[in-house]
C-alpha cells in the first residue's frame, strides 16, 4: 500500500528526511515513532503529496506514484494533519459535505455515508454544531470522520492524539484500532504508550533516519537490552566494597553505582535472569537497610531512548569502572556462597529465576549456617535490617 525507497527531503542545508525506505502492506497498522523534529511529519507530507521529495527511488501510495499521479493518490488517502485543519465557521455536517464534494462522492451516497461515519467516530449528535465550537477532542474526531469519509485505502494520521486529555486519548486510540480492519493505517506519534497500544509494527525514526523497523516485541528484544535490578539501600561508607560484593554474585555481569540520596546508595545490577532474590539475600546478610529492590524490565520506552539518544545513555558505567569483577577479594573468599537448588516445578517462578535458592550466611555468629530462601528467618546482629519486600 505504501512503498518508499531511498527518500530524501532537504530544507536548504537541513536534511529532514535522510534515506528513508519502508514498505507497508495492505491492512497493516504502523506507528511512526520519533522525537519532535525527527522527520515524521515531513515524511507524511511527502507521502500525501503536500511536499515534494528532494529525491526518491520509489514513492508509491495506494499503488500510485506520488509525484506523477498526485491526484489519484490524494483520492485514495485520508490524511489528518496534526493541526486538524477544519473550517471553524462550518457546521460538522457542512464540513463533511464539503469533503464529500471535493472527493466527488455522489449526493445520494453522501447522504447515507455522512451519518454512518459520524456515528462511527461518535459525533453524530454534534452534526448541527459549528466546528469552531467543539472541544479539542471532538474536533479530533470530526477530523477523523473527514479523513474517513471517502473510505480511503490508506489513512495517514499525524499525531492523532496530541493535545488531548488522557481519556480522550484512550478513546481516539480505540477508534484508530477499529480502523485497522478496513484501512491501512500509518500514524505518527512521539508518545510511546500510544504506539505501544495501537500499532503492532513500529518504525522508529530519529534525525530523519529510520533506526528501527519491526514488531514491538522484536524491537524490544533487539534494542532494549536486558533488564536490571534496581537496588537502593544503606550500604555504609565503603561503597566500593558493596559494589564488589554485588559483583561477586553468580550471574551478575555488571554493577553500576547510581549515586546516593542521603544515606541511601542506589545501584543498577545487570546480569542473567532475575537477580532480585540474590541481591536481597546479600542485603539481608549484610544488614543493609533496603529502600528499593525491583526489577526494571526494558520497555519500548527505553529502547526508544537508547535508539534515539544514540547508544546506551541509560547504562553508562558510573562508579563501577575499574573494579574488575570477581578478583581475589571476591565475596566467595569471604565466606559468601550462593547455591542454586533444583528447579521446582509448580512453584511457577518468574521467568529467569533459577529456582530454589539457598544462601549461606555471612554472619559470623551463624557459623556458616545455610538456609532456604523460601523460609522466613530472624536476622540478629548489631544493625537489624529491614524486612525485604520481595
Amino acid at each position: 500500500m505504501i512503498e518508499v525507497a531511498r527518500l530524501y527531503r532537504r530544507f536548504g542545508a537541513h536534511v529532514a528526511v535522510d534515506d528513508v525506505s519502508f514498505r507497508i502492506d495492505k491492512g497493516e497498522v504502523v506507528g511512526f515513532l520519533g522525537p519532535n523534529g525527527a522527520g515524521k511529519t515531513t515524511t507524511m507530507r511527502v507521502l500525501t503529496g503536500f511536499l515534494p521529495a528532494t529525491s526518491a527511488d520509489v514513492l508509491r501510495v495506494a499503488g500510485y506514484d506520488v509525484l506523477r499521479e498526485s491526484l489519484e493518490v490524494r483520492r485514495h488517502i485520508g490524511y489528518l494533519p496534526e493541526s486538524v485543519p477544519l473550517y471553524h465557521e462550518l457546521r460538522v455536517s457542512e464540513m463533511m459535505r464539503f469533503q464529500g464534494r471535493l472527493h466527488g462522492i455522489p449526493r445520494a451516497e453522501l447522504k447515507r455515508r455522512i451519518p454512518e461515519v459520524l456515528e462511527r467516530v461518535g459525533v453524530l449528535d454534534r452534526e448541527r454544531q459549528l466546528v469552531g465550537k467543539l472541544s479539542r477532542g471532538l474536533r479530533q474526531r470530526v477530523g477523523l470522520a473527514v479523513a474517513l469519509l471517502p473510505d480511503p485505502d490508506v489513512l495517514i494520521l499525524d499525531e492523532p492524539t496530541s493535545g488531548l486529555d488522557p481519556l480522550q486519548r484512550v478513546e481516539v486510540r480505540e477508534l484508530i484500532r477499529s480502523f485497522a480492519a478496513e484501512h491501512t493505517v500509518l500514524m505518527s506519534s512521539h508518545i510511546l504508550a500510544e504506539v505501544e497500544s495501537v500499532c503492532p509494527r513500529v518504525i522508529v525514526i530519529a534525525e530523519g533516519r529510520i533506526v528501527a523497523d519491526g514488531s514491538q516485541a522484536d524491537l524490544v528484544r533487539e534494542f532494549g537490552g536486558e533488564g536490571y535490578v534496581r537496588f537502593e539501600a544503606v550500604v555504609g561508607p565503603d561503597v566500593a566494597a558493596a559494589v564488589r560484593l554485588l559483583e561477586g554474585l553468580p550471574g551478575v555481569t555488571r554493577v553500576d553505582e547510581r549515586g546516593r540520596v542521603g544515606i541511601h546508595h542506589s545501584f543498577e545490577i545487570r546480569g542473567a535472569g532475575d537477580l532480585r532474590e540474590d541481591v536481597g539475600a546479600v542485603a539481608m546478610t549484610k544488614g543493609w537497610a533496603v529502600r528499593e529492590l525491583s526489577l526494571a524490565v526494558p520497555t519500548l520506552d527505553e529502547m526508544f531512548a537508547r535508539l534515539v539518544l544514540g547508544g546506551d545513555g541509560a547504562a553508562a558505567p558510573a562508579s563501577a569502572t575499574g573494579v574488575p569483577p570477581a578478583t581475589a577479594a571476591s565475596p566467595v573468599a569471604q565466606g559468601l556462597e550462593l547455591a542454586t537448588g533444583a528447579a521446582q516445578p509448580g512453584a511457577a517462578p518468574p521467568p529467569g529465576t533459577p529456582g530454589k535458592k539457598i544462601i549461606y550466611s555471612l554472619n559470623p555468629f551463624d557459623q556458616g549456617a545455610s538456609r532456604d530462601l523460601g523460609q522466613p528467618m530472624d536476622v540478629g546482629g548489631p544493625a537489624p535490617p529491614e524486612d525485604e519486600d520481595r
Partner: protein, 263 residues
C-alpha cells in the same frame, strides 16, 4: 472544474458567515447612498450621470476598489495557510488551479454583490419615475465587476505570499494603490528623468514613447473611463481587464505551487 465549483461555494458561504462581509456591504450601501444624493444634487438631477459617477467616475469608486479587495483576499489564502487548512485543501483531490480559481470567483462574486448596491439606487430611481440609461448603468456595472476582479487577483497574489492575513491585506492595499496610480507616477518620473537625459542621449523620444505605451497598457483608470463609463461595450477593454486578471491568477497558482517546494 467541479473542484473549483465546490471551493467557490464553500468560500462564498464562509464569506457570508463572517461579519466582515456584512460590514463591507453595509458600508458600501451607506456610503453609496450618501454620494448618490450628493451627485444628484450636484448634477441638477441627472440620474444617469450620477450613477456613472458612482460606478467609476468618482474617486469614491476607486477608493472602494483599493480598500475592499485586500480585506476580502487577506483571508483567502494567508488565513488558510495560518490555520493549516491550506494543507487540507492541497492534499484534497483538487488541483491548485481549481483552488485559486474557486476562491477568486467567490471574492469577485462578492464584489459583484457589493456593486449591486449602486443598482439598488438605480432601481429606486426608476421606480420613482426617472428611468436612468440602463445600458450605461449596466455597462458601468460590468466594468466595476471586471475592475474588481483585477484588484482581487492582485490581492490574492499578495495573500499567497504570506501567512499573516494582516500583512497580506497591507501588501495587497499597497499593490492595488500602486497599480492604480502607476501611470501617473510613471509620467511624473518620466518628466523628471527626461530633463536629465536629454543632454546626454539621443533617441530619448523613442524610449519615452515606448515607456508611455507600456504604461498605457497598465492604465486601469484610462481604460475604464474610455470604455465602461460612457456605456460603450468594447471587447478590447474587456480583454484588457481579463488578461491582467488571468496573469495574476496564474501567478498566484505558481506561488502556491512554489510554496510546497519552499516551506
Amino acid at each position: 472544474m467541479s473542484g473549483a465549483l465546490t471551493i467557490y461555494r464553500r468560500e462564498l458561504a464562509s464569506l457570508f458567515l463572517s461579519p466582515l462581509a456584512w460590514i463591507l456591504l453595509l458600508v458600501a450601501l451607506f456610503v453609496n447612498g450618501i454620494f448618490f444624493i450628493a451627485f444628484i444634487s450636484n448634477s441638477q438631477g441627472n440620474v444617469t450621470t450620477s450613477l456613472a459617477l458612482m460606478l467609476g467616475g468618482a474617486y469614491t469608486f476607486w477608493a472602494f476598489l483599493v480598500f475592499f479587495p485586500p480585506l476580502l483576499t487577506m483571508r483567502l489564502l494567508s488565513e488558510e495557510a495560518r490555520s493549516g487548512t491550506l494543507e487540507y485543501l492541497l492534499t484534497a483531490p483538487v488541483g491548485d488551479a481549481a483552488v485559486v480559481v474557486g476562491k477568486f470567483l467567490a471574492a469577485t462574486s462578492f464584489m459583484a454583490i457589493l456593486w449591486a448596491s449602486v443598482l439598488v439606487y438605480a432601481l429606486a430611481v426608476d421606480w420613482l419615475g426617472v428611468a436612468p440609461d440602463w445600458g450605461s448603468v449596466l455597462g458601468g456595472y460590468l466594468g466595476a465587476v471586471l475592475a474588481s476582479g483585477l484588484f482581487i487577483s492582485i490581492g490574492m497574489l499578495a495573500s499567497s505570499l504570506t501567512a499573516t492575513p494582516l500583512v497580506a491585506a497591507f501588501l495587497a492595499f499597497i499593490a492595488c494603490l500602486l497599480w492604480l496610480i502607476l501611470p501617473s507616477l510613471g509620467e511624473l518620473l518620466l518628466i523628471q528623468v527626461r530633463s536629465l537625459l536629454v543632454h546626454w542621449a539621443g533617441g530619448v523620444e523613442a524610449a519615452e514613447e515606448w515607456i508611455r505605451a507600456g504604461l498605457d497598457k497598465m492604465n486601469v483608470l484610462s481604460h475604464f473611463q474610455a470604455s465602461f463609463l460612457p456605456g460603450v461595450f468594447d471587447t478590447g477593454e474587456v480583454v484588457f481587464f481579463l488578461s491582467w486578471t488571468a496573469l495574476f491568477v496564474f501567478l498566484t497558482t505558481r506561488v502556491l505551487e512554489a510554496r510546497r517546494w519552499r516551506i
